[in-house]
Structure formats: C-alpha cells, structure tokens
Symmetry: C2
Amino acid sequence: MLYSDWTLSNNEYDPKERQARDALFSTGNGYFGIRGFFEEDNETIGANGGIYMTGVFGMGSYDAWEGKSSELCNLPNVLRVCISCNDEDIDGFSSISDFSQSLDMKKGVYARRYLWKTSDGRRLELCFERFASMHDIHRIGQRITIKALDKIDNLSVAALLDSDVTNLNLASGEPFPIQPGRNHFISRNVRTNALSVTLDDPDSTVLNFAQQTFAYLNGKAVTGRITTNSKACGTAYTCSLNKNEVFTLEKIIFAVTSLDESLNPEQEIEDFLSKPASYEQELARHCSALSDKWRVADIEIDTNTTDLTIVRYNIYQLLCVCPEHTDRFGIGARGLTGEMYEGCVFWDNEIFVLPFFLYTNPSAARKQLMFRYHTLDAARRHAKNNWFEGAMYPWQVDRKGVEQTPVNCGAFYAIHITGDIAFTICRYWELTQDDEFMLSYGAEILYETARFWVSRCDYNSFDGRYHILSVRGPNEYDVYVNDNAFTNMMAVYNLKSVNSVFKKLKERHPDEFDKLFKRLGASHEEISKFCEVADKLNIPYNAQMDLYLEDDTYLIRRKLDLKRAKPTKKRIIDSTLPYEALPLYQVTKQADTVLLCCLFPHLFTKRQKENVYKFYEPRTAHDSSLSYSPHGILAADIGLHEEAYRYFKESAYLDVNDLQLNTINGLHFANFGGTWQIVFHGFAGISASNGKLYIKPALPTQWNRISLHCLFLKQTVKITIDKSSIAVKRLDGDTPLTVCVNNQDYLIDDKPLTIDY
Amino acid sequence: MLYSDWTLSNNEYDPKERQARDALFSTGNGYFGIRGFFEEDNETIGANGGIYMTGVFGMGSYDAWEGKSSELCNLPNVLRVCISCNDEDIDGFSSISDFSQSLDMKKGVYARRYLWKTSDGRRLELCFERFASMHDIHRIGQRITIKALDKIDNLSVAALLDSDVTNLNLASGEPFPIQPGRNHFISRNVRTNALSVTLDDPDSTVLNFAQQTFAYLNGKAVTGRITTNSKACGTAYTCSLNKNEVFTLEKIIFAVTSLDESLNPEQEIEDFLSKPASYEQELARHCSALSDKWRVADIEIDTNTTDLTIVRYNIYQLLCVCPEHTDRFGIGARGLTGEMYEGCVFWDNEIFVLPFFLYTNPSAARKQLMFRYHTLDAARRHAKNNWFEGAMYPWQVDRKGVEQTPVNCGAFYAIHITGDIAFTICRYWELTQDDEFMLSYGAEILYETARFWVSRCDYNSFDGRYHILSVRGPNEYDVYVNDNAFTNMMAVYNLKSVNSVFKKLKERHPDEFDKLFKRLGASHEEISKFCEVADKLNIPYNAQMDLYLEDDTYLIRRKLDLKRAKPTKKRIIDSTLPYEALPLYQVTKQADTVLLCCLFPHLFTKRQKENVYKFYEPRTAHDSSLSYSPHGILAADIGLHEEAYRYFKESAYLDVNDLQLNTINGLHFANFGGTWQIVFHGFAGISASNGKLYIKPALPTQWNRISLHCLFLKQTVKITIDKSSIAVKRLDGDTPLTVCVNNQDYLIDDKPLTIDY
C-alpha cells in the first residue's frame, strides 16, 4: 500500500485479496456507498457489484424480534460495463499487468488502471474512475478511458444499469450456515437507460435509476445504440482504434427512491434524462463540496506522511458514509461498504462514530440522534415486549428500529446501548447547547430510557443496593454477568441526566418545559426514583485495589493464558475455545472499563485510570475492532506514549492490514471513529466538560505537530499542537470560549492564543 | 384412548394426530425401534416409515465438537407394503371407517384395523400386526389380513424392503432452520428379497436386510412373484376375493449390520433366506421372551385399570428400548421412536432411565454403564479440548461419545452429566456389589471424573471455598450460573466416592486394587485433593430459610408471574419470553433442587425437603418432561399425597396426552423412567442405602394395593404394599436381606414377612 498525503494506492493485483480491497477502496456520499469493485468484471460475484444506499434494506433470512429480519440490499449494478476487444471479453484478470488502484481523498475519486493483452498479443490500457457526488448526492460519475497500445479492430463497450444481481453474502454474521446471497427485487421496470426495481421489504420500496452516457474517440463524440433486456438497460458503443488512439466513456447516474422525500420520483428521472449532464462539471461540483467538508474535518500531521495519509483515510470514510440528507437512519457497523451485520446500526454509531461528527459536523450528529428519536416508539415496544417500562433500544437495528439480532444471541443482555444513546444525546447538547433539540426530542428519550433502567434494575434487600442482573457489557466474552461496570455507570448517567437536564431546561424555557413535562407524563416522584436508583446502583469496585471491576465475579474467575488462547490473529472463539467457555476466565474481548475511563475522563483519578489500564490491558484479547482506540486514548491520557502510538497504529491501519481478517465484509466504521478519537481525545488530548474545552496534549514522539479544527458551542476553533505549545484560534462566532490547560482557564476571543504546556 | 390392563388402544382416526400416534404406538426390542406408522401409506412422509436401530447414525447437518454431527438414521422401510384393489391404491386414508389401533403390551404386538371402500363402493377389512422379536432381536414379524366384505376382482399386495427413504425430520432440535430429512445411504445393493445399504457415517456402516414372505388365500398358500428396482425389492401377490374371503400375508424380516458382532453378515443373510421361517412360531417365541421380562418388570395396581395400563405402557416402552445385545450405546432421549435430539444420549439415561434397570435388570444397566466406559477416551479428549483434566462427559452423545450439541448452545456448562454418570456407577455398585465391574471399569471412570472436577473448580481466596463457575444445572433456564446446587452436590459425591470406593476395593481385593491404582496413575495426594475440594466446595444454602439454593443468585432475581409467562401448555420460551431473558427471573425450567432431594433421600431433613418443595414448586415451569416425576417422588416423600398423585398423572400420561406438544418427534423415555420411579421410589417408597432396602409407602388414596418385584444384592424380592402393611418375599438367593421400615430393620430370609406400617 502506498501513502502520499491525500492518496492511498495499491499497485499489486492479488486475486485472493481483491474483494477485501474492493471494500478498502470504497467511496460514497452518505446516500450511496460503492465498493471498489471492478465494473468490467462479468464473473458471477463480480458482476453483482457492491453498491448500497443508506436505509435501503431487503428481506433477510430469519425471524427478527418483530417480523422478518432485514439486510442491507445490494443495489442494481449501475456501474456495470461490458468491454470486449476483437470479440474477447475483458472480464478475466489472470493476465493483466501494470495494475494500480488508488483513492484520491481530496477529490473523492477512486481510480483504477491496468494493461490488458488480447490472445493475439494486442495491448490496451484501461483506466476507470468513479465518484459519488457530494454536491448532488443522487448522482454518481463514472469515466472509462481505453487507449490502444496496438491497433484494435473492434472495441465494444456497453454501459449498463444492471438489476441481475444478488447480495454478495461474502460471509454472514448470522449463526446460520451461510446461504447464497438473496436477490431482493420482486419486480423490475426496464426502460431506455432507466430502470426501476421494487424491493421485497415490508414497504415495497421502489428504487429508480437512470443514466446518461457520452463516448468519445480521441475526444470526438461517438454515437451509441440502446441495449435493453428484461433485467438491464444501457447504451453500447463500438469502434476501432489505431495505435495510441483513445476511447472514452463518461457516464452520469441518477437515482431516487420512494424513501426519499421526493414527491414524484418518476418525474425526477424524466427531468434528469432530459437535461444533458457533464462528467467534468459534476466532478468539479463534487470536489468543491468535498473540499468544504475537509475544511473542518481534516487533521494535519506534519512529520509522518504515512500516518497523515492513513488518518485522512479514516476520516475520508467517515465523510463518505455520513447520511446528511436524512435523519431516518444511522451509520451501520460496516457503513455502506459490505453486508456484515446485515448493514445494521449498533452502539458503534453513538460511542465510536458520532464523536467525530459532534466535534466537526454537529448538524450531521443531530440527524443521527433524530434517527433514534424516530425509532423511539419501536424502543418503547421493545421494552414492553420484554416486560420492561419506558424505552429499550435494541442492540442491532434496521431502518425501523426493530431488533435484528437473532433471538437468543444476547441482544436481551446488551442493554448498555440504551445508556449509550442517552449519553450521546447529553454530549450533543453539552457541545451545541441545542435546546430546541433537547426540548423537542432529546429529553423525551432521556426520560423514557430512565424509565427503562428503573424497570430493569432489581433492588436487593440483602445489601440495600440496586443491581442490574443478566447483562452483557461491551466485553461480549462475558456472555452475561450481573452488574457490569460499564452498563451500570451508563445507567447511572442516564438516570441522573433527567434531573440535571430538566433543571436547566426549566430555567431557560419555563413554558416549553411545562409542556414537555406534561407531554411525558413526568412526575417529581418519578424523577426522585430515577435519582434514588442511580444513587444506590451498585458499581463493582475493589477498594483495596482501587480498581473498577468488570462485573461482580471477574476477580474470582481463573486467569487465561492469552498466548495459548490466541496464538494467531484469529479471535479466540474462532480458534481455541468455544464462546460459551469464556465466562470461566478473566478475559475481556474488547475495551470495557478502559472505555469508561475514555468516556468519563474527568470522573476517575489518574491512579484509577492507571489501575484499570494495567489490570485489564493484559487480559484483553482485542477480538473486536472497537478495542484498540479506547486503549490508545487511555494510554495517551496516562502518559504511556509508546503504547498509545502502538494502539493508534493498530486502529488506523486496521482495514488496510486486514487485522480482523474480515475487511472483505466491509470497513470498520467504529474503528474509523476510534482512530479519529485517538488523535483528537488522545494525542491532542481535547475533551469538553462543563462548558470548557480541555486540552492535555500527548503527542507521540514520532510526530512534531498536529493541527485540527473542531466546533464547540457553535463556533469553529483551530487548534495546533506542537511539542511544547498549543495554539488556539476561534475562526467564527463571537462568544468567548474557555480553554483549560494544566488546570488553568484561558478565555479565547477574536485573538489567537498560544499556550505553553 | 382406551385402557384395559395390558392393552392401550385408540379407535379414532385423526389425520392431524396420526404422526404423534405413530410415536405413541411404537414397539421394539432394543435392537429395532419401530414407530406405529402405516406400512401401506405411499405418501412421501408416510412411505419413509420410521424404523431405527440402536447406535445406527448417519451424518448430521452441522459441525459437532469433533467432525460432523450424527443423527439417528431412519432405516430402509422394511415393513413397506403396496396394496391395490381393482387398481385403486390403498394409500389415502380420507374415507376409512371403523378404525382402531392397539398395543398389546403382554404380547408385544401392535395391531391396526379399518374398513376401506373402493370408489365403486366395495368394502375391505384390513388388519395389520407387527412385532420386533424379543427372542431373536434381528427379526421382525409382520402380518396383514385382508377380508373382502364385497367381491374383489383384483387384489394386489407387494411386500417390500424399501430403501427409498429419508429421515422424517418432523421437527428439529437444532437451532438451525428445519431442513428436509436427509437420506443417509451412500450406496445400495438390491437383490432378491434382500437389500444392503452403506451409510454416510464415518464408519461406512453396512446394514443388511432380508425377508421371507408367505401369502394365503383362505389359508391356502399363494405364490408370489419377485419384484425389484434400484432401491427396493420384495415379493408381490395378486388374487381375486369373493365376499368374506380372506387374504393373509405373513412376513419375517431379518437384519444384521456391520456394527453387530457378526463375523459374516452376508452369510447370516443367506442362512436366513435358506431356512423357512414361520410367523406363528416367531410370534410364540417372542411372546415367551417378553413374558420373561415382564415377570420382574411388571407393577400390579389393584384398583385402577387406567392407571395400571398406563404404568404398564411406561414400563413396556422401557423394555422395548433397552439394548441388551450391546454395550456400545445407551438409550437416547427419544429412544428409537423419533429423531428429536438426533437420537443422542443425555443424562436422562443415567438419572431417569437407569434406576428402572438398576432395580429390575441390573445386567442391562451394567451394559449402559459400559457404554460410558467405552467412551471414556472421548470424554478424556473432551476434557483436554476444553482445557480441563481427567474426563468430561459430553452433554449429548452419539455412539462415539462425541459432543453433539451445536457449539455455543450450552453444552460447555451442562457438566453435571459427568457427576450423574459417576453417581449412577456408585448406585449400580451399591445395589449389585459387582466388584468386577468396579475394579475393571467403574473406578477408572470415578477417578478420571474426579480429576475433571478438580480442574473445573476454582478456589476463591476471598471466602476460602471452591466454586464451580459458569455452569448450567438441570434447570436449563439459568443459561449459566455460578455454584449450581445440583452440579456442586453431584461433584462432591463424585469427588468423595473415589476415597470411599477405593477403601472398600482395597479391603476386599488388595492385589487387583494395587494394579488398578497403578493403572490409573493414582496417588494418595491426588485423592486427598479430591477430598479437600469436596469439603470446601460451596453449596449454596440460606441458613435462615433452611433452604438449598438453586445457585448463588437465585434469591436476588425478580419473581416471575408464571401465569403471564406460560398462559398455555407451550413452553415459556416458545410463547412469551426469549430464552435469554430467563436468568433475570426466579424461574426453574424443571426439577433441580427437588431432584437432589430425590437422589439423596437420606441426606436432607424432612424440613429441608419441605422447604425445597414449597419454595421451588411454584417457581417451576415444568418446561421439560424431566420435571414431573421428581416432583411426584418428593411430594410422596413429604406426605403431599394429592400432589404426588397429580404429578404421577402428568408423568404417566405425558405422551398419551401429548403434554409437551412434541410426542410426534418421539416418546419421552426419561419420563417413562420417571413414572416408574414415582411408583417405586414415591408410592412404594423404596430406596436403598448402606446395604439396606428402605420402604416408606405413600400409596395414593386412589389405589388400594401395589405389587412389584425388584432385584437387590443379586436377589429378587417381591414387595406388596396395601393401605397398612408391606409384604416382602425373597424369591431367590440365599443371603438374608435387611429391610428398614419406620426406622426398624427386618431381616428377610426364605420366609415371607409382612410388616404393618
């Protein structure tokens, strides 16, 4: 892999790695996600492409907790192209040479190039590029350039919209045997350069696609002919090329679905087809829109081009996946780059991914939280169906907010997600002071989730404490435990937040607050109950060791020989011990109490943080992509610089190096967010609490300076950190900001400030 | 259902119930198990028959803990018959009348009868009967009698050996979607009235079948013609019948497999075919052999014919399933009457089924325990694979003793089976004083299982006790707990047994004992360790309540509203709450501490037994067929006569009434053993301890007298109990026996004794 500032590229063609690289070279615009697949591939799996849309699901293979399960739907392959040269199809890749593929993250363009030889030795150079427009998210641009290095009598290129696809199903997160990928289209309507399909989902969602194609021979337009069959449509071109002549195909795709807020999708398709588009123009608009995003999102690292490029790659994928056009879905564990976990949204969304948006694009973060508000009724039903009160957010959700984890795979235990959502709502409010959101939506979620916790806690008359029994924390190797520290602390935060948020809302907006109070059927007695349960909820802790405990039995379990349990990169449960054996051992799948220290950096003493790190780190298998970044952040916090940098490397290069052995099934978005967090919360040491921005740098020795932007209380701040000083500059807004460095507060107004540390 | 002493019969033909009745009217001889299916049925599922053999497995559908899973193989349908009348096939049952089916348990014959009408209104009376010979277990007899009630021009009857079958797969115990039943024959060899098939199991087991058929018209022999195709062979007969004329087909089937100890199966087949067999003769020999079994096994109840019949039914099925010809397999959860649980053996075998054999046929019990000895190496491997020492018996085993529960379905936790096997070995020895067995086999199992327990226990320095973490007791609704009372007490018994058994063996057989000691690599230090762990192993108990606790958290869980959780007969987890939710509640799937009180009746005080019953009984869902009988036994023990009788009814009539809604998948053999135990241990109140036979009668008010036999210390005892007295008579042997009634010992020699109670 080659790293050069803004470009990640690969010059090796390895058929075994191809589909993992397809994921790695994904691009997107929050509406579309497009794997880096080879559009000219005619093999079964390759011809399926790999294009997804936010919130577009087909019917899955098992019973979910309500109705049938959902799975992210592989869309028609709208980039499909059939190329033949003197009647030889270019769809085998055994004899290609000079291969390269690259992602230009500044421009948001994925490009691919190789030389191909006909059976009689004539050579072609083929170049492909594509982008999903950040300017008009309904559009994708594609350009294919074919140069004859020898004379070619007959080149044929057909640019298609092809609905003859199934899901890729490269592997499955289900406990069932892997099944062939499903086709989700129950009907198709194929027209001239336009295609509609109806999905097998409960809403019978309709997806409409159209394309405009333009072809040139040495820059001169070539006319094509319409080609249509029962599943695909497009335009085909034929020409002959003398040596060094160039054929170019440019194509603009337009899509609109019945899930969009469009009143007349069919009219939109007609409108698109009636107004000529231009690839160059679309590309320029796209680059400009992406450039706007980079302005705040970019992190500059002065010294190390490789690290700089990989940090940009992590951020780029977050920019590509963020659905700014809708508040009806979140970001799935694998985003729009693969089908693992059925494309569903988990706690990753709030705890790992959203911090990036909270600090760089709060309005995008708000939309993600609105998705949780829109599915609050589903969470209420979920609580009721499980005999609890209030709202219980499911562990794994599709667009409807319905639990998608197969029954009896632990979703009943994984309740910390409910606290994670409440926590992130409070974090959003703290960073933005968006009272309108809190009054209209956020407070309702906080109140309903607090009701859930009260009904989920059990009072134990033996010790006079509340307990949360049968629960699975982030450390999923527990199966289930009683009193998981992470879950209980998130529950306490959630329960207490109602009182503190309500006080402030009442002060600032007494009338709206009264309406809210009535709307919720709230009562002071109930809020007192929230506080009582929070105060008496048991947090497992060993005073002698000054150590927060994973759960109430972690200390009495036997030690695990991690070298024996995990001799290779493979997860323990895929190599040496069955999953069900693990509760016998002191083993942590992924950061858990470590993560708590990251989420509440101002709550624990340094000694407690050190104790947590020293005790759990050697007991952690990192059998999840969600483990490296919290370890990196906490290591930076407690001054373990080399460890912090090591965890940064594990996190930042996770997909590039396929550390989890499953990049093929999609990129790890929580980890992208985590990488950003190591740099932002860890190395830059930035956190926010009580209206102040704390900066406690912990630069790796390998770096000299980093420079980044963030939004805090609706104002953009530029922060540059070198080995000894912090430069802070407010770029907009007019409210003075308090920055705290080494326990000293600094007021930032129009003037930039440099603080030595 | 009709009950008349020795016959259970049904006169209603209900197509919806037919396959459950197929299971109910199963018969067998320990070698074969034959469902009561309709041999003339040509419909797909019906033509598959439903015949199984002890230990004959095909390849299953998932990965077991070693290699592929196994499943009980549905054999070729050797009872298959094709009947047509004037070219109309008799294979639809929509217009039959005067239907009856009955099981004569004294003779061991299943008979079926009905009237059938051709489309032009001509009537036939058809009678079918079959038996699996108890005299020569390789033989099955079948007789079909067809009487013309109107003139029939053309009756055609073909008696086949048909290998065109798949497994029935009526439902599946797997967590996977139900799959079509598999065919397990990888090759077939079809000859004249003989058929061999090779299975898809790892041993490529070969099954050989042959048949002799005889047909008569009004008692006069009719000649048939050979019929053969690629999968089936047989003999076909054609005749015409005047009104009231009778056609009879008699058939003897012979089978021998490569798993039998036969040196030359093919020769045996030839020998069978060369010597004419006679249905009447086979039947007479079979009845005589069965009669021998009934002599000890029968229980006479004077007053209640229905109860008498159903008790005999429960015993009859135990006689039919018992594999006395081999010590290479045990009795599966559903015996040889269905495919649920893949035909595998569980703890049911030792704790529920074997007590019947321990007291009525100890040599059969010894064979079952020898199966555990033969799979001791598999149990050693299982321990090692799971990082433990000694021998860990798998939860669910096929013939090879390999864990068949799909991974991550809790088999890792269900370790009490290891203690259950050790417990039953000690019980066998106590009742038989079979020192040869203990020296050669039993002690080795006890020692290796004790080693397992030591490696499975964790010492906790906080309380100075040993604990067994992450364990699932008989109450499977726990998912897993720490310190399950049942598991821990069985472990203590197992650990302590080594010392006590070794002491006695050393006294009685010093030389053999020394050899044994060396062979095991035993040491006094290790035995001391067994005792130390046993002494310090935590048994959860609440002193204030004088109550043994299910586990260490049962008391702090929330109460479950059982009416809400189980509004119908359906199991909780099939109706209202997911399985994973249940550890949150005080709910017991099935008898657990109650069962402990039954297994150790002399260990607990009456008050402790009462407390256990009163506390757990209202918290028990009885979502297992293994729950009723322990409740019945304990209720009888503590004098709750009505409750004991109620539980007896639930247990005894469980399959007849399809209480668990899954009799279709096979009969509940643990429950048959449990029914016998309620009568024997509960109502008759018989137990054995320290060389004495205790009798503490608790007859239901509904019964006046029961009379039964049992073997104790190799001597047969007849015990008759009425409302106020116990008559004991030793039928053979010459050692005086001690019988204890109301704390008083009586010595029984040649003279019968009557004791008032």
